[in-house]
């Protein structure tokens, strides 16, 4: 059998600053899915003022936060920019969510005030929009494997992100708004960077995505790593199916509401505050 157990080295960026919508569940999911397979996991937390050794990281987590926290993270991220960019160019895997996604782009332009510079790893820009996109999302993803997966989660963002020619979308929106509510794209990817607007958190409900990240992280450190051992994902599959149902039902409601409004030509009563 195999020799020493493998270890995935996870770097959890801004565990305090960027942690607004249960996104630490992504870390729990990665750790448990490693543990259930006998793969070891080491987690380095790096908050403001700490520059971790990114050369010793296989998987980097960068989560969402509110506007103020995002501004603070952007300032600090400038200090981490050099080694983080090198790690990304060295194919370390990155999961970036919401504000974390926006921070990896070129800039974020708020409604008022100066632009917040991003890391420019992703060829995307983000502008503050007039209203928030809040609701369930489903997207179709093909991460180059030729195999189609669905990604489900919950979005809550006012930023509109637009992809430049150098960025590929993570997926195509099936229900919900995604990047900007206009072009049908959701998220972005570059090398082994996977960026998304989906909270939920995204990994527990999308175990295929969690395992993809783990595979890429293991490939970053080890050569000749085989496929991950399958896990009994009944609970995950049920939660995924439920989230997909909710996203589709909500998409149906929106279409119906839009039709009703355009017919009646009177303001609709928003269903939520």
């Amino acid at each position: 059998m195999t020799a020493a157990p493998m270890t995935v080295r996870i770097c959890y960026l801004y565990p305090r600053l960027l942690s607004v919508a249960g996104d630490r569940g992504n870390l729990f999911t990665l750790m448990q899915r490693c543990a259930w397979r006998g793969i070891r996991c080491s987690v380095t937390e790096a908050d403001v003022g700490v520059v971790p050794d990114f050369t010793q990281c296989d998987l980097i987590l960068l989560h969402g936060g509110q506007d103020r926290e995002m501004t603070a993270a952007a300032l600090d991220l400038a200090e981490k920019a050099g080694p983080l960019r090198e790690a990304i160019e060295g194919d370390a895997a990155v999961l970036a969510v919401c504000a974390g996604y926006q921070l990896l782009g070129r800039y974020y332009a708020p409604a008022a005030g100066p632009r917040i510079a991003g890391l420019e790893v992703l060829d995307v820009i983000t502008r503050a929009g007039p209203a928030r996109f809040i609701g369930h999302v489903a997207a179709a993803c093909d991460l180059g494997s030729g195999r189609q997966h669905s990604l489900t989660g919950f979005e809550n963002h006012s930023g509109r992100t637009y992809l430049g020619s150098g960025a590929r979308p993570l997926g195509q929106v099936l229900a919900g708004a995604g990047n900007n509510g206009e072009d049908g794209t959701e998220g972005a990817r570059y090398r082994e960077v996977y960026a998304t607007y989906l909270h939920g958190p995204v990994l527990p409900k999308n175990p295929w995505f969690a395992d993809h990240l783990l595979s890429r992280a293991l490939a970053h450190r080890y050569t000749g790593v085989g496929p991950l051992a399958p896990l009994p994902d009944h609970a995950e599959a049920q939660a995924h199916a439920a989230a997909l149902r909710l996203a589709r039902r909500q998409a149906g409601r929106w279409r119906a509401a839009v039709a009703a409004v355009s017919q009646a030509r009177r303001p609709s009563r928003a269903s939520r505050g």
Binding site: V20, A21, G22, D23, D67, P201, R272, G273
Partner: protein
Amino acid sequence: MRIIASRPPARSGEGTPPVPPSVQARFALALAGGKAAAAAARALRVGGGTSFPGVVARWIDPRVLQRAMAGSDARKVVVTGSNGKTTTCRMLAALAKAEGLRVTQNRSGSNLLQGVTSAAVRETDLRGRMDAQLLLLEVDEATVRLVAPEVRPDTLMVTNIFRDQLDRFGELYAMARGLEAVIETLPASATVVLNGDDPLVASLAQGASARRLYFGIRADGTGGQVPEHAADTVRCVRCQHPLAYRVVHLSHLGDYRCPECGNARPGLDVAVTAIRPSPEDGSEITVETPAGTFSLRVPLPGLHNVYNAAAALAGEIALSRPRPLEPAEARRALAGVRPAFGRLEAIRAGERQVVLAFVKNPTSYNATLREVLRRPGRKHVLAAHSNTVVDGEDFAWLWDVDIEQLVPQLASLVISGTRAEEVLLRFKYAGARPEITRVLPGRSAALDTALTGIPPGESLYIFAGYTPMRELRSGMQRRGWVQPAWAE
């Protein structure tokens, strides 16, 4: 101790020409319609009729709440914030009733515009008169900007601002701005009662003409120095620099100071200076107030209830400014407060006991868990969440709850609600063993299964969101274990 009887000075906009008869008739019709709706809801046993009467009354006369309030001599207190509204209201009501005041409240959880209107309709007679001397309104923190202009509160209390149903409210700071807009409209005769230990709440009302009263905890040895992971406002509201805490009591509540700009916790008008856990599930506290120093018993467990008691005392002081409180009377009144329904409410269920906990966000859930984990023995748990307008659609916050701490004490687990899959996933990743876990989305079946699975003499702990909590409680009510919530 007596409340000043005089009305606050008339505000601009009042003293308008006499109300035309047609307007008066419409108002009366709205009141009658609302009362009829409440009676019908009761007769048909569709709950206590908590928001339906308000809906009907507002449909007949959209200004019914405004008119009822303008015609009332009652002092109006609005209590808002993320957590502790219901309990703070119960404590303040107990203090005010001890003074002999006729107090009326909206029903717990019915804290949106319709629920507040229902309460006003219930308490106003058909001629538009209200008997109550103190109208105590618990108002949802996102709705307060709609309710306040109609109610025109004499006192506005903000308990705290935690992340609560972010999918509904957007961002915390947007909510704070909404509260600020309400506070700016309050006249100089009004009082704003603020949690001084909450950096975001304490930053409110800096330019307001209303009087400010801060409450908080100044007792050492009750907290850590680093905010919990689920803490929300850990950065300076003014300059974004991380706040330094001399002591953290609960989540982001504590004695903070910004090392960068010097922004610090304000001086506390009502300060809890000592906390001693009391033998029977509660705390003995010492509180310094402008009316003197009190030694009180908070009959409900947990630091969050110490905050609620401090808030209620501050509210009481805002009401009865000219006369000092009498400690003995306040002590007696507060000690008699029972938990609001669903706040670790103990219910006898035959040979077993149910402990019902209403959990709606990471802070309330973690505070509740901490209390439950202090109790001895392994825990039988029923966890239920549903997606509704009240409970929201986004349950990501469950991942900010420290379920991992509960799992080692778990004896059995039943999961329920329309979002049972979500709850199951959270417990699975926290390490709950599949052998002791059952999923039963129907609330009634879940309760039966959970109770039959535990030995006589033991307790079932229910952690549930608002709607499943009401449903489970109704089930227990049908079995005669508990009184209807609205009959309390």
